[in-house]
Amino acid sequence: MELQLNRVDYLQVGVTAQKTMRLLPASGRRATQKVVIGDQDGVVTCFGIKKSEAVPVFKTLPGQKISRLELGGAIGTVQEKIFVASGSEVRGFTKRGKQFLSFETNLTESIRAMHVSGSDLFLCASYIYNHYCDCKDQHYYLSGDKISDVLCLPVEKLEKITPILACQDRVLRILEGSDLVYDVEVPGPPSVLALNDGDGGSSGEELLYGTSDGKIGLIHIARDSPVPKWEIFNEKKRGGLYVYANTANVYIDRFIILGFMCLVGILCIDNFDIMGDGVKDILVGRDDGTVEVYGFDSAGDPVLRYDHTLTESVTSIQGGCVGKEGYDEIVLSTYSGWVSGLTTEPTHREAGPGQELKMSQEMQTKITSLRAELEQLQFKVVQERERYQHSSQSTTAVSAVPVFSINDKFTLNKDDASYSLILEVQMAIDNVLIQSDVPVDLLDVDKNSAVVSFSGCDSEPNGNFLLATYRCQANTTRLELKIRSIEGQYGTLQAYVTPRIQPKTCQVRQYQIKPLSLHQRSHVFDQDRPMNVLSLTGQFSFAEIHSWMVFCLPEVPEKPPVGEDVVFYFQNTFLDTQLECSYRKGEGVFKSDNISTISILKDVLSKEATKRKINLNISYDINEDSVGHTLTMIHPKLEYQLLLAKKVHLIDALKELQVHEGNTNFLIPEYRCILEEAEKLQDEYKKQPAHLERLYGMITDLFIDKFKFKGTNVKSKVPLLLEILDNYDQSTLMTFFDTQ
């Protein structure tokens, strides 16, 4: 069944954060629901729609940024009380806008996530979870990494309180009281949680999660252990989405997904039967502006039914009925504060001729009133502008333009080992300057329409390795860039964002490119691989060595974890080699099967220690077998790439033969196969530019590092190595590594 939805824009408020818009339950005779939304100016707006006009119900005064907005009420009654979290305060409003609660919590940080259930309030700051009952402190938990969302399984079904924390280190933590019951590893850093079907399913224990790298999954949170049900990976290709479900019997072909996946984080999830087939569908809002509806097939696996793309990230989503009685719709709010609906109501073009006239009349009045408003504003702005200009004559006046908010994200994309930088601003972006003091590659993103221009840069004396400008097309509020880093080369990437607004200002954002930038946290470690070990001892505190770890590796929590010692596992996203870091006060041990990783760590750590004048005793234990092991790990990747390059090279010639001969019967099956798969091969080849060069670079590093530990400098032999790589053969390469 084809789902046809039409977009309607209702209202624009200020910039909104994640999960700050809800629909109030329908009350009385009226079937249409009211929308309540909180923005970063601190204003809570509640409005309904009458004759396609937004009619405000109430609006609060500006205040601190609103980070969450939830609905609640006594258990068993209609959930129509509005709870708003801003700063460290929670306020409650009735549906008429009367404030009935103002609760200043004892949290020192601002609230990042909130859940309300009856008289229980669950709040999370960056690392701290707090449970309040009737505004009295009940339980407390300190998480190992940043908390992005909190949820509690339905109390009425389970008859006990089971809070669940979504944490940045890729786990969901299930609590009871102040204690951890168990944790569940999920495929990416979870960014949002939701109860399945809105009430946790029949058992009340089914939980939906979305990750910041675009995966959605369903987990059954049983009393003692989790049972994963399915996962959806997103593979964005031009023209459509391909969905792979992972149930008990469906094996995900990771190889197909590899290299095509695109980092599109999930910001909000809701359940609503928009298809009208009696089963609640999953509504998903992503940070690239995609809205998706997943239905279920007969086997119970999720299937993509509909998708729509807006130009900015979708911060909240909910299904309901707002615009017109009898027509269901998906209501969503975007980053810049637009509340829009994707409604099942057909637009006027398909309506009867009389109706069309009426519709356009309504539209006309709306447009005229908007125009009038604009004119007034324009007049005011001109006056203010003159005053501003005038002030430039005075010697005492200052020009201070308030800081505009930028929604930015800098994340490692596991599947092609590159970073993606997403910048989103409330206003249209005029231009963005990207500057880096380390060598990085800036890759082209298809979606991006901005005109990029690379400027020549001199590394001396200004220390620039990359200077690029992006001149955006009109009305671009969101810019996505892809950056490829090299491990071992670290520094800062800066983005100067200039929006298209007077007086013109620009804001700079900094992003760290860490020495082991391609590593990712993981929770498994294979002890059987041959390992190189680096051990440090010295007069350093736990906090100091932890800060070095934060400096070296991504995804390490900034706060030192509780306890005496800590162990972190990492995986190299490009080569799949691993790293174990265990450290405590005065001692650190690092194990990796990749000698280059150890070499980089050694260099950076000794440099950092010297900077702080700390004397380090470094010892290392190099396992000769590990080099061979790493080479064997690289081998299939290298071979695949070489073969791919060879095949792609042949395509044109084969096509010519095909045109010449009229058919392909005379070709050997291998060539025929290439011809059949030509498009796929070319696509893949295009998507992994310079993949081979990157692999070559890593093998060269491996070679140099191996002998660096032995104390010999083999830089002069590198051309020889490259020659061998050009005529690649695994055994020759191995011998070369061994015999030097």
Binding site: L374, L377, S394, A400, P402, M427, N448, A450
Partner: protein, 722 residues
């Protein structure tokens, strides 16, 4: 919403920009395009019964609608249209790097087959100016040639660089078509027959042009720009990160005015209003667009827009009917308008908020005077000063033009972005000093590679060291055309041996004004009375330029650079509004070079002939040897056969070597011919108006008659009107 009315998947690749529709039998339109391996395919869905079976045209075996035409050389351009009005049907014109073929598809015969030394990069078919018969005009290495249906070249002229695009358009509204030529030196030149009537400088190689209506035409550049010109002035242009592969004028929304349809390298097709450049329709293909054409492909009396992708996907769009005009896009116009107005409102509100916050901050700051810099608070009277000067360079840096940007107080400049076209690698140049080197003054070295006036759009980020938010100062400075020439001392610099002399009827003051506007003079040169002399040194090659003006208005320019002399004369003529200017020129060094080049051309020609004769000999030898070898094989004389085949192998190797020599010879010839063509163009550029056209025609005649002395005489003193 406009949807394609037909979609075809032709199983052939299509070479970009080589697509045409022709009615080769006078009635049925056929889509024709160049494909891989030097072939041209003709898609003829309407006349299936007809079968061609001759040497050139081969029916494609797996697709009955498609016939293939074997050119055996890489096709470089292609078009279809009426070349011979008596034929009553369209002819196909195919150009390669060495040949031009005019082909009658229906009768399967060649109209003509011409060897072209300058190659054919672009072709256009139609009538030009007063020439009665339609011409196939091709553009090659600096040369333009027009052939009529019998293959006589009735039109010939030269242009500044390799031609990349051609179009016919009634540029000056006289009812006759002028030829628009886009070339690799970024210029669009307009030829009224062989006289240049206008010249526009763009920022990149012009890859495509199309007439819109009357004197309006569209153009596309190799940096992703498309736009529309109305005569000499640009109406609008937009730039994309993708490349425009093909442009075409077509009235898609039936409002009586053609839109500019652009096919992009990322597979997008969009239609833009000719007045504003606003997108009124777009669609996406899965691969790059190869060509956009029009034709009545369904034979129902309505013309469709036909878009082809490089993978052989073809879509046809019918113009929307009058009623639905204005809503070609998916979303309704009103919704779009409301969104736009709301966005505007939001922007104004934000701006208002900015001012309010600003004044609030102002009050606050009167109490707390310590600048924390975080918000980027700067004194309101901060000003940005810019100055252009010439820097003579040092050991580390070559001489350059220096743009100095400084603030008027203790604020610092975090970074400077300069957007300008044609003088940097990309469209922008960034100066971003490291944190230790932040100051209130930034010097930007600029080396414009060409003598063109450039607008520098400067954006400077001003704040304090610790700021995260900066004020952006935006301003525009113009870089004068001859900024790379520094004032020198006439006494110490050696006088160049070459010169041009001409006389103008203008006051000295006007000439001085021109100097001030086009050169970076240290301070305004005081108005001198004639005679005066002024001397410049080039920063590029430290060549000297001497300008001498006598009281009677006679101006002498002394420089060894012919191009520079041409540029100065053209610039001066435009500034002083001179229509016709005969010039006497003498460039002994350059003429010597040219003489050598001409000698080389002759040599190359003779070598070429010799090599061709050799090759004929050798192929005869091969034939006989092959026969001998086969004879031996039949007689089972294996030893002899082996010997013969070894000899044959050696001979073959020899032949390949000779072929390589021939190739090199040919490239050399091409380069030299280009030099000759450029020389004629340069000689033309030293003159303005009528004398210019006369010089070009006369030079051409001199070359044709191989009268080299006459050629140099014409270049020196201009053409003597016969």
């Amino acid at each position: 919403m406009l949807v394609p009315i037909f979609t075809l998947k032709l199983n052939h690749k299509i070479n970009p920009r080589m697509v045409a529709v022709g009615k080769y039998d006078g009635t049925h339109p056929c889509l024709t395009a160049a494909t891989q391996a030097g072939k041209v395919f003709i898609h003829n869905p309407h006349a299936r019964s007809q079968r061609f079976s001759t040497n050139r045209l081969v029916q494609s075996s797996h697709d009955s609608d498609i016939s293939l035409l074997n050119i055996n050389q890489n096709v470089s351009c292609l078009t279809a249209g009426v070349l011979d009005p008596q034929l009553g049907c369209d002819s196909l014109i195919v150009g390669t790097q060495t040949n031009l073929l005019a082909y009658d598809v229906h009768n399967n015969s060649d109209l003509f087959f011409k060897e072209i030394a300058d190659g054919a990069n672009a072709v256009v078919l139609g009538s030009l100016g007063e020439i009665p018969s339609p011409l196939a005009i091709i553009g090659g290495n600096c040369a333009l040639q027009g052939f009529d249906c019998r293959g006589n070249d009735v039109f010939w002229t030269v242009t500044g660089d390799n031609v990349r695009s051609l179009a016919l358009c009634d540029f000056n509204g006289d009812g006759k078509k002028e030829l628009l030529v886009g070339s690799e030196d970024f210029d669009i030149r307009v030829f009224k027959e062989d006289e240049i009537v206008a010249e526009m400088t763009e920022t990149e190689t012009i890859t495509a042009m199309c007439p819109m209506y009357a004197s309006r035409f569209g153009y596309a550049l190799s940096n992703g720009t498309v736009g529309v010109y109305e005569r000499m002035s640009r109406y609008w242009r937009i730039k994309s990160k993708n490349l425009a592969m093909s442009i075409h004028a077509f009235d898609l929304n039936s409002d009586g005015v053609c839109e500019l349809i652009t096919g992009w390298s990322n597979g997008k097709v969009d239609a833009r209003s000719d007045r504003t450049g606003e997108v009124i329709f777009k669609d996406n293909f899965s691969s790059s667009i190869a060509g956009v054409v029009e034709g009545d492909y369904r034979m129902d009396g309505k013309t469709q827009l036909i878009c082809c992708s490089v993978d052989g996907e073809v879509r046809g769009y019918l113009p929307s009917s009058q009623e639905t005009a204005g809503s070609l896009m998916d979303t309704s116009v009103e919704q779009e308008l409301v969104r736009e107005l709301s966005q505007k409102k939001q922007n104004l509100l934000l701006e208002l908020k900015n001012y309010q916050e600003n004044s609030k901050q102002g009050e606050l700051r009167l109490q707390v005077s310590d600048p924390d810099g975080q918000m980027g608070v700067i004194p309101a009277n901060t000003q940005l000063q810019t100055a252009l000067s010439v820097n003579m360079g040092s050991d580390l840096q070559p001489a350059h033009v220096e743009l100095s940007i400084s603030t008027s107080n203790d604020t610092i400049i975090r970074a400077v972005l300069i957007f300008a076209e044609g003088i940097f690698e990309g469209e922008s140049h960034v100066v971003h000093p490291s944190a230790q080197h932040l100051t209130g003054r930034i010097r930007v070295p600029i080396c414009p590679p060409k003598d063109v006036p450039v607008d520098l759009h400067i954006k400077a980020f001003v704040g304090y060291r610790s700021s995260v938010q900066f004020h952006v100062f935006e301003l525009t400075r113009q870089l004068p055309r001859f900024s790379m020439y520094v004032l020198g001392n006439p006494a110490t610099t050696p006088e160049p041996s070459s010169h041009v002399t001409f006389t103008i009827n203008e006051r000295v003051q006007r000439v001085v004004l021109w100097l001030n506007q086009n050169f970076l003079l240290p301070e305004d040169t005081e108005v001198q009375s004639a005679p005066f002399q002024i001397c410049f040194t080039s920063l590029r090659d430290s060549g000297t330029l001497l300008l001498n003006m006598k009281p009677n208005g006679e101006i002498t320019l002394r420089t060894d650079d012919v191009d520079l002399a041409g540029d100065i004369i053209q610039s001066m003529a435009t500034f002083l509004a001179i229509e016709d200017l005969p010039v006497e020129a003498n460039f002994p060094k350059y003429f010597d070079q040219l003489r050598k080049v001409l000698g080389k051309v002759d040599d190359s020609h003779s070598v070429h002939q010799k090599l061709t004769a050799d090759m004929a000999d050798q192929s005869n030898l091969i034939r006989s040897m092959l026969v001998q070898a086969e004879d031996s094989r039949l007689m089972r004389d294996m030893k002899n056969m082996k010997n013969r085949y070894t000899e044959l192998y050696d001979l073959n190797k020899d032949l390949i070597n000779r072929y390589k020599i021939r190739c090199n010879n040919h490239t050399e010839l091409l380069n030299n011919l280009k030099c000759v063509n450029q020389a004629i163009q340069r000689a033309g550029r030293l003159r303005v108006g009528k004398p210019k056209a006369q010089v070009i025609t006369a030079c051409r005649d001199a070359i044709r008659s191989n009268n080299i002395n006459a050629l140099f005489r014409i270049m020196r003193v201009g053409a003597t009107p016969s």
